[in-house]
Symmetry: D2
Subunit: 466 residues, 4 copies
């Protein structure tokens, strides 16, 4: 039974954020200004992590690395960029979990080994990290940080043979979820876990290559999507061109369902599915389930991730789709010490109600997920406060009942509100007039297959737990 506890107060007073993804990775091979291109790519992946960023680059002979805390623009200075020459590069944006805000946990992490330098950027979570770490320590290995990601460098170091073989042997010892980028002075590698839990895709740009957590970053640098890296695959890009290796028999494909529901940007395509189209479809399915059961005047979504589901619901229900909530695009830290009354206005700093469409109206409100329930509760309260007559909350994902061990920062079962009360109680708690979640079967239908990870909904962990 899961007991792990990745604590993070991700509902601060001034936030309406939801679950947080651990990170995004991006790499380029053989491109002039590789580090700048990586910067642009990471910019398109910034939604995957805002608490740290780093870029490594290589010029064929030397490997360079610069990293720092905060958003990309805060973490990497102009001076840093000037210290990142070369035509190959990898980068990382990071969402820091509890206790992990120390500089040593920023990525890429660079090993300076006798066989050369090796930088790693990692998205995901290794469930047997602590076992592996203990075993390595018993063999005399020393760890300088507390991150999972350092382990893979140690495992690689221990193996024999050429680097790709070392990576094969090292990865075969890992359980869990991972997409790795590795950079040496001369080559770039991408690896995806055997279940494909975390995404990774391959693009082409001129005579060079790009690897990215999401396709949206390919477009942003003018690269062309080639294909997803496959579960269990190692892609090696070097002067020999692109070569493919396997570190394992591929397992069942189980891409993280929350990538489709919440994390990925709507314009990305993952494992052949458009994120946007799939979100719309979940909305349609929710509408069909509601057909004849609820009367409402309009459909709206919580921006930005729930808008496609709301559009799909509107389409299938025939109800008008409206922008009932408007997001303030100017986010970032503030420098005021608000009064308590001002603190209570928190959610209004990020989300504004478009009064003209909700006044006296019955709303179907689409949201992507319910974790602790805090934000949903505030939004419903705000809508009613400013004039909505009814708010029927529809969640474009199943109830989150179990923690994630694959890189998503979920609270304990005690804090997962859907695990703590039945549907009626939850509906009352949130202040909604009715409440419905997407069924897992509908999610399967929207996706067109059951090859997704449903661990947080069903508690069955395709790659085990820690």
């Amino acid at each position: 039974m899961p007991e792990r506890n990745l604590i993070k107060d991700f509902y601060p007073d001034f936030s309406c954020d939801k679950l947080k993804e651990e990170c995004g990775v991006f790499g380029v091979y053989r491109q002039e200004g590789a580090a700048s291109l990586t910067y642009l790519g990471l910019h398109a992946l910034q939604h995957r992590g805002q608490e740290g960023a780093g870029i490594a680059s290589a010029d064929g002979k030397t490997l360079f690395c610069r990293k720092g805390k905060g958003l990309l623009t805060e973490a990497i200075s102009h001076e840093d960029m000037a210290s990142l020459p070369g035509i190959h590069s990898i980068g990382h944006v990071r969402y820091a979990t509890a206790g992990g805000n120390e500089a040593e946990n920023l990525q890429p992490i660079v090993a300076r080994a006798s066989f050369g330098s090796l930088a790693v950027a990692h998205n995901g979570q290794i469930v047997n990290a602590s076992e592996l770490r203990t075993a390595l320590e018993h063999q005399g290995h020393l760890f300088l940080g507390s991150s999972d990601s350092e382990i893979i460098l140690h495992l690689i170091q221990k193996q024999d043979g050429p680097l790709v073989q070392k990576i094969q042997q090292a990865c075969s010892q890992l359980r869990g979820a991972f997409a790795f980028l590795f950079l040496t002075e001369k080559s770039l590698y991408g690896v995806r876990d055997r279940n494909g839990l975390r995404p990774l895709c391959l693009g082409k740009k001129g005579d060079g290559w790009v690897l990215s957590s999401e396709t949206c970053a390919l477009d942003s640098v003018g690269a062309t999507f080639v294909r997803d890296v496959l579960p269990g695959e190692i892609v090696k890009i070097s002067s020999h061109g692109l070569e493919t290796f396997w570190y394992t028999e591929p397992g069942e494909r189980r891409t993280c369902a929350m990538e489709y529901i919440y994390f990925a940007r709507a314009d990305s395509t993952m494992d052949g599915r458009s994120i946007y189209q799939m979100r719309k479809e979940t909305g349609r399915l929710l509408a069909r389930a509601d057909a004849g059961k609820v009367e409402a005047d309009l459909v709206a979504g919580v921006p930005d991730s729930s808008l496609p589901a709301a559009m799909g619901y509107a389409e299938a229900s025939g109800l008008p789709y409206e922008l009932a909530l408007i997001k303030n695009p100017y986010v970032g830290r503030t420098f005021i010490e608000p009064t308590q009354e001002q603190r209570d206005l928190g959610v209004r700093r990020k989300l504004a109600v478009n009064r003209s469409v909700i006044q006296g109206k019955r709303l179907i409100l689409l949201d992507d997920s319910v974790v602790r329930g805090t934000t949903s509760k505030r939004i419903i309260h705000l809508l009613k406060d400013l004039g909505a007559r009814e708010v029927h909350l529809r969640i474009a994902s199943p109830e989150i009942l179990f923690p994630c061990f694959y890189g998503i920062d979920t609270p304990t079962r005690e804090e997962l509100i859907a695990a703590q009360m039945d549907m009626d109680a939850l509906c009352r708690y949130l202040g909604a007039d009715s409440l419905r979640f997407l069924h897992v079967e509908d999610l399967v239908q929207a996706y067109g297959s059951d090859s997704l990870c449903f661990a947080c909904f069903q508690g069955q962990y395709p790659a085990g737990t820690s």
Copy 2:
């Protein structure tokens, strides 16, 4: 014929911005933590100006002021906020025009006069500024900055009688567009020009009051909308409560049409009209004009301001509404020196194409306005490049043919592309498959009256030109 030339390269490589509004103003009377409340209010008005911000506050005896360059969060430090005590406050966010980036032009501007201190925050442009300034200089007045806004302080200073009477006499000498907030040690004043060219509204919060450029900022601080300040009205808020004065016979009401079309946030209401609803209506009217004339598969808008028009068009045409363009919410300065090829990717840093909806499709693309045409051209090119079969551009405003003298930073006629070519040539230039603008009559219909300023469309200036 207008010859004025407000130059600003507002189409830098990495921008898809359009016209820029000069500023936003916000004020509170009798509220604990007034400066913090103003900070929150300005945060909701940040879209009106990103190049400078300032806050003044008053505690009944002393008037304080802090201001700086950049976004609110850059301009005002935590230390600054600690230096702004008191229960009354006004603030300003500013869009800097050419040459005006010097510290002395930041607002609020504070006069330290024998009758007490007086802070002013100004949105708009005074067309007889240079005459007034010259006349004042002949009378021995001295100006420390180059902004229009300093003039009103001098005019007030010259008058006799109580402050409200001085303000009346001073404002009656001004021609042009203005919404002023004035703060003394004890009272707050709001003034709107006789044509109501620039917006200003009044809200109530507890036993205090709020004045704001837009209603969206009232909501963000938990204030209730009371009414718009009327053209020619002076609202005085003091220990005697709210009093109303007039500095002139009200002129014809002529609120700036571009406020409705582009500047204001969609959740604001101005002069009784919902910005959002009116934008939807312009979309519907464009659709009706197109009925039977254009075949397309879907409707999309350029985010964020053109989305309601696209929704309206979709509703009226029966075509599906889709999110074809996605905006990257992480804006801000970057620290790279991109290669030329990377520079050409500029627009992609801010806007991403949602390939899944445009592949092989014929799009109706709604945009709010065409100024120099640079951005529209790039977006159409990007859409076609990534798979759109046809792009039919519909502009939710009439052609901008004349410069603005009322606070909007328009280029010269030579740079206004719609003034330089006929519709067919423009369509070809932009790379669109067809192009249509909103008729002025449709704008009148959408608004429900002709009491708007159409100067930039028609060259008739309700408050004269400079």
Copy 3:
């Protein structure tokens, strides 16, 4: 009787600073990279003010200005420097007095008048500022800041004739202490008050000119000292070369004694006297007065300003001169919140005791002045704590008994400790084994004339009080 109260807690826990000078000014005429040269000059004057800095420049047609809070390196960014073209420039470093930390009080202040732009940088204090201001306000003038320095711009504006005549007429209305630099698009002016209370000197560099508060800044930019600007003189530098004008009959010369004692850098020369040599001489005179009256093992000074006096004392007394106190050169803000015990260590952060020379020794300790007495008390306590057997305090200036009205930030009489107790009580209060101040007559002898301002010692104000 003086009642003015320039409050400033200039003895914060972590400071050993003394009196603070209001500012330093520096200007250049006809030099490539004028603003950079001014930056270098201000860097050499940074000891005269650390709380704000600004630079104006002119290219023959336009006048530019950039300014900000803090040290020069904090106030003026690289981007600011890039906005300051031209071959003429003036700059200012500022020590902020109470309440004056608002952006509007930074200098240079620029008037944008019909006759052109005029920037002013001011060191000193105008004693009839408030009268002049009131009078100007009665004539309808409006002031945007609370600084004295704005007044001169208004007075100039009111006069007729060519600019130099306007400056003459304006300055003749001022009482008090001032050194002004004025910059127009094309010319540079320097003015010194009729008593020469505040210093200003003239240098030559190639075919251009330099004006500076102190000669140390001439050296730092490679300029050659020409002469001091004379009391009552206006130096005009333009395409006609250097011209000299008088705004008044020169008054008695009364340069501020504290410039020689404390403010100026030791390598400066003022009114023909080397600061360093004069400080040494005060030390010699103190030694002579002590001859046969005090037994001691060594002489030391409080760094940096009291070292020459200590060297002079050692020379005249034959006692060895030692570095008993060492200054930590790394100053600046700290980011810790110290415990109370750590706070008590305050003075040790800036000054360290060289234990090897004081152990069991009887010290003659030279300090330049006693204001509130706080720092002297701490230093003596620290020296005894770490092993000094006796500390005989010798002050290289007379007792400060009266406030300054000429630009130096002195506390009220109540806070001037020498005005509150007799010599014996003060000696006990400070924890010294004996205490002696320099006599005014000795100061006259060291200077070689009585043409100094002794107002803070004797309460006679050569230019009146406010």
Copy 4:
């Protein structure tokens, strides 16, 4: 023969700095606000390294670490300090050598091992680093940075037994120069290399303990000096109090001569010698060697490190001691792009000539060392340019002829100017009227023993070379 090449252009145009020490370390055991105390201690050691700083702290259960680039005040934010709880702490200030400016090389470095966390702060250089590293890599160890200091953590990890035994065994494998501080969750260790090449001292504060590179930092935190850590000694401080261990038979003591000559602050005492007194003595010895051989009017030193030698010279020669050079205390980065002519003024930005004492005079100028000769040449040129008649340069150290392998950043023999020309040629090159270095025998006499490292003077390396 040494071939190693630690390159660093430490004579940039705007610098008069000399050799650079690698770093300073400071630690406290059992003190409230331990991290703040370490901050204060590092502040007093800031002269030992300005390019990086870090602090680790421990509260008995957990070990925390924060570090960053630049001066202490830049590297450690207020927020960082708030993340460093506990009553034990160590810190580090760092001077970055070539190529080592990457974040991973900042210290303290923290190992997160199965036996607990271990932070290390290191001053010095390990000459068999590359051998040890290679050997460890052959055993499968992985290094994340390029610094020497990571090696010790790996060596410790590999050993058996209690931590102190592991440290013993690890240190016994090291050759070279080191002072280490180690911090665990509960205890503090200090180690000094067997030759005592790098300094480390022990102090007491209340019922807690302090370890520091120099005694000046003990005073700054109110601690009392107890004794130096002895060559080869391991000091362990834990709940069992202070215990002493040896990792080796102590070797000959050979403290770095340059610590006494240049690096240490004058108020520090090292191995029982006052830095200040020893510097004075070198001056006296130089004077004696000159007796009757050179005529001069005065003696001066290059601030700050050469002032005591100048004072000693003056004392022994009977010539007056004067402040001929004044240092501008406001250092730090500038934001100008100077013209070439301004660049040539470089040295004047940091050092000013006190013209009043040098005009027409013959100077004995004391400087502490000659490395590349660039700065001495500029200073002599400047002095003569501004009026000095003769400049007789006396160097308070022997000629530096060989590179250092023990932590000091010396250039290659090709760049060591004293290794490239004979005394006459060097004198001419520097523009001096005569030139004399201290003899090694005089250094021995001034120190009172020959137990110093003279490697850079004589090429004999007490702890071997790499």
